[in-house]
Amino acid sequence: MPEQLLFAIEVTLNGLMAGVLYALVALGFVLIFKASGIFNYAQGVMALFAALTLVGIQQGQVPFSHLINAIFGTHIHHFPWQVPSIIAIILAAGVMVFFAWLVEKYILQHLIGQPDIILFMATIGLAYFMEGFGDMMWGSEIKTLDVGLPQGLNVAIDETTYGWFGYGFFIDNLDLVATLVAIVLVTVLVIFSQYTKQGRALRAVADDHSAALSVGISLRFIWVLVWSIAGFVALVAGIMWGAKSGVQFSLSLIALKALPVLMLGGFTSIPGAIIGGLIIGVGEQLFEFAIGPMVGGATQNWFAYVLALVFLIFRPQGLFGEKIIERV
C-alpha cells in the first residue's frame, strides 16, 4: 500500500480516538440540555474542577492552602498522606454530586422560568466562578494525573500492522482505554435512562416540564440527579484528558471543542454526540493532514466550528436533533 494512504488511515484512526474524547465532553452537555433545557457552558470547567479535585485528594493537598498561607503567613501545602486512586475517584465523584446539589439550590432554583439565553449566560458566570474557585482551592500549577491508566504506544497494534503493511500504526494506549470507557459509559447511560424509574422520570422531564410535574415527578430531584451525572461524566472526561495532557487551565477549553460536536450532532441526541464527536475528530485530523500544510497549520482551532457552521446552514437542528418547530 502507498505510504500516504497508510498515513491517512493512521490519522483517521487517531482522529476517531480524539473524537471519542470530544464525545465524552459533549455527552455531559446533552444530558443537561435534555433534562433541563439548559445549555451548560460550565461543562468543560466542571471537567477541570473534577480533575483538580481528584489530583488534590489523591496527593493529599490541603484545600485553599494558598489562601490560608497568604492570610496567616503559614507554609502548609500537603497532608502527610496519599489516598489510593479508587478512593480518590469515589471522593471526587462525591464532591461533584455535592456541587450539583449546590448549583440546583443556589442557582437553578432561582432562575426557573427565565429565558434559555439567561440560563446559558448564568452557566458562563458559573464557569468563571468555578475556574477561580478550583484554582483557589487547589492552586493553578500544572499537575500530573496518574490513576494507573496505561499510556504510550500500543506495541501489539504497532507490531501487527508492521507485519501486515510494513508500516506500524501509532495508537496510544490511553486512547484505546478512553474508547472503551466511553462505550461502557454510553451503554450504562442508555440502560439507565431506558430501564430504571429515575431514567424514565428523566425522559419525562425532558419531554415536558409541566406534564412531568403534574404526574408527581420532582423536578428538583431530577435536576440534581442530572447535574450529578453530568458531573460524573465530567470527572471521567477530566481523568482521560488530564492523563493525556496534564491537569491545567487548558483542560477547560475542551468545552469549546465539544460545542461544534453538539451543533453537528444536535443538542438533544446522545447518539448524535457520539457520532458528531467522531466526525469532528476525524474531520479535523484529516483536514490538518491534507490541507493544513498548505495554509500554515493549526487549523484544528477553527475547522470544527466552520464545519459545524456550514452544516447547520443546511440542517439547522443538527444531524439527530429534534426538528425545530416554531409557533407564534
Binding site: 497568604a70 466562578f129 460545542l259 477553527w302 466550528y305 439547522p316
Partner: protein, 358 residues
C-alpha cells in the same frame, strides 16, 4: 421633589421625544459632558488614562456594539473579540498603506470593513437561531484570530507576528504611537464614544431599532407584521460590527499600541464584553456604559485592595477576581436580569416621588 416632570412643559413633538425628558436629567447630561470635555483632560495622568479611562471608553464602544446585536436584535454573539481583531488589523493596514490620510478616517474605514465581515458571519443567523447561533459566532472568533496569526500579509511580515501602531496625529496632536500624551489618548476615545453613543441612541429609538426589537421579541411575529428579517438581522450585524470594529481599531491604535491577535483579541475578550452588557443591562445604552465601567473598575479595585492593601500574591488575587466576576454574573442574573440599567431606572422612579410615598 426636585426630580420630576411637573412644570417642564413640552410644546412640540420634538420636545416630547427628546432623550432626556426631565430637566434634571438634561442638566446632569450637560454637566457630565462639560466635565468629560473641559475638566478631565486637564487632570488626567498616564496611570488614570491607561488603567481606567481609555479601556472604559473603548470597551463602552464595543459594549454598545454588542448591545445593539444582542440586547436590541436578540442575536447572541460570542465573536466580539474576533471582530475587534478585524478592526485592529484593518486600521493597521490602512495606517501603514496610506500614511497621509487622517487616522480618524482610518478608524471609521476599519469599522466599515468590520461591518462587511460581520454581515458575512451574520448570514447564517437567518437559518440558525439561539444557542446554535451563539456557538456559530465562535466560528468567527476562532477563524478570524487564526487568519490574523497565520497570514503574514496582515502583520506586514513582521518577525514577531505583532502589529505596532505608527505615530499619527489629529490637528497636529499625536494620538497614536509611544509618544502620545495621556490627554490626547483620552480625548480621541471620548470623541468617538460620544458620537457613536449618539448614533446608537438615535438608531435604536428609530424605525431600525424598532425592527430589531421586533425580531428579538419574536422573529416570526415580526415577519408577519412586515419586518424583513433579512434586512433587520443583517443591519443589526453590520451596525454592531461597525461599533465593535471601531472599538478594536482604537483598542489597538490608541490604547495598546502593539497587539497580537490571539493574545489581545482572544475568546476572553468576547466574554468580557458579553459580561459588560449582561451586568450593565441588555437593550440599554446607559447599560453599556455602566457595564463597561463596572468591568473595568472591578479588577483595578480588587487589585488595589488585595495586592496593594492586603499583600496577597497576584495570582491569588487573579483567582479571586474570576470568582467575583463569575459570582456577580450569576447574582445579577438572579436578582436583576436587566442589569445596572434597571437599577438606575428604579432609582429614578423612586426619586420622582421622593420624599412622598405616592
Amino acid at each position: 421633589m426636585f426630580y420630576r416632570e411637573a412644570g417642564d412643559f413640552k410644546t412640540s413633538y420634538k420636545d416630547d421625544n427628546q432623550t432626556f425628558p426631565i430637566r434634571l436629567d438634561r442638566m446632569g447630561y450637560y454637566i457630565v459632558m462639560f466635565v468629560a470635555f473641559c475638566v478631565v483632560p486637564f487632570f488626567v495622568n498616564d496611570y488614570w488614562v491607561n488603567s481606567v479611562f481609555a479601556p472604559f471608553l473603548i470597551y463602552a464602544i464595543a459594549a454598545l456594539g454588542l448591545n445593539i446585536l444582542t440586547g436590541y436584535a436578540g442575536q447572541v454573539s460570542l465573536g466580539t473579540g474576533g471582530f475587534m481583531a478585524v478592526g485592529a488589523y484593518a486600521v493597521y493596514k490602512l495606517m501603514v498603506a496610506f500614511p497621509d490620510v487622517s487616522i480618524v478616517i482610518h478608524v471609521l474605514l476599519a469599522g466599515g470593513i468590520t461591518a462587511v465581515v460581520g454581515v458575512l458571519f451574520g448570514l447564517p443567523s437567518l437559518r440558525i437561531k439561539g444557542f446554535y447561533l451563539a456557538v456559530a459566532t465562535l466560528a468567527a472568533q476562532f477563524f478570524l484570530v487564526w487568519v490574523f496569526n497565520k497570514v503574514p500579509w496582515f502583520y506586514n511580515y513582521s518577525a514577531s507576528g505583532q502589529i505596532n501602531a505608527p505615530e499619527r496625529s489629529v490637528f497636529g496632536v499625536i494620538v497614536t504611537g509611544p509618544n502620545t500624551e495621556a490627554w490626547a489618548k483620552y480625548m480621541i476615545c471620548l470623541v468617538f464614544v460620544v458620537v457613536l453613543a449618539w448614533v446608537a441612541r438615535n438608531l435604536t429609538r428609530g424605525m431600525m431599532g424598532r425592527k430589531w426589537m421586533g425580531i428579538r421579541d419574536m422573529d416570526i411575529a415580526a415577519e408577519i407584521i412586515g419586518v424583513n428579517p433579512l434586512m433587520a438581522k443583517l443591519t443589526a450585524f453590520a451596525v454592531s460590527s461597525f461599533f465593535v470594529g471601531v472599538a478594536g481599531a482604537l483598542f489597538f491604535a490608541v490604547y495598546l499600541g502593539a497587539a497580537e491577535a490571539g493574545e489581545s483579541f482572544g475568546i476572553a475578550k468576547s466574554f468580557l464584553i458579553l459580561f459588560m452588557i449582561i451586568i450593565g443591562g441588555l437593550g440599554s445604552i446607559f447599560g453599556s456604559f455602566a457595564g463597561a465601567a463596572f468591568m473595568v473598575l472591578l479588577p483595578v479595585l480588587l487589585k488595589n485592595v488585595l495586592v496593594g492593601g492586603l499583600g496577597w500574591p497576584t495570582d491569588l488575587a487573579a483567582h479571586l477576581e474570576f470568582m467575583v466576576v463569575g459570582g456577580l454574573i450569576v447574582i445579577f442574573l438572579i436578582l436583576e436580569p436587566h442589569g445596572l440599567a434597571q437599577l438606575w431606572r428604579l432609582t429614578k422612579e423612586k426619586l420622582r416621588l421622593w420624599p412622598f410615598p405616592h
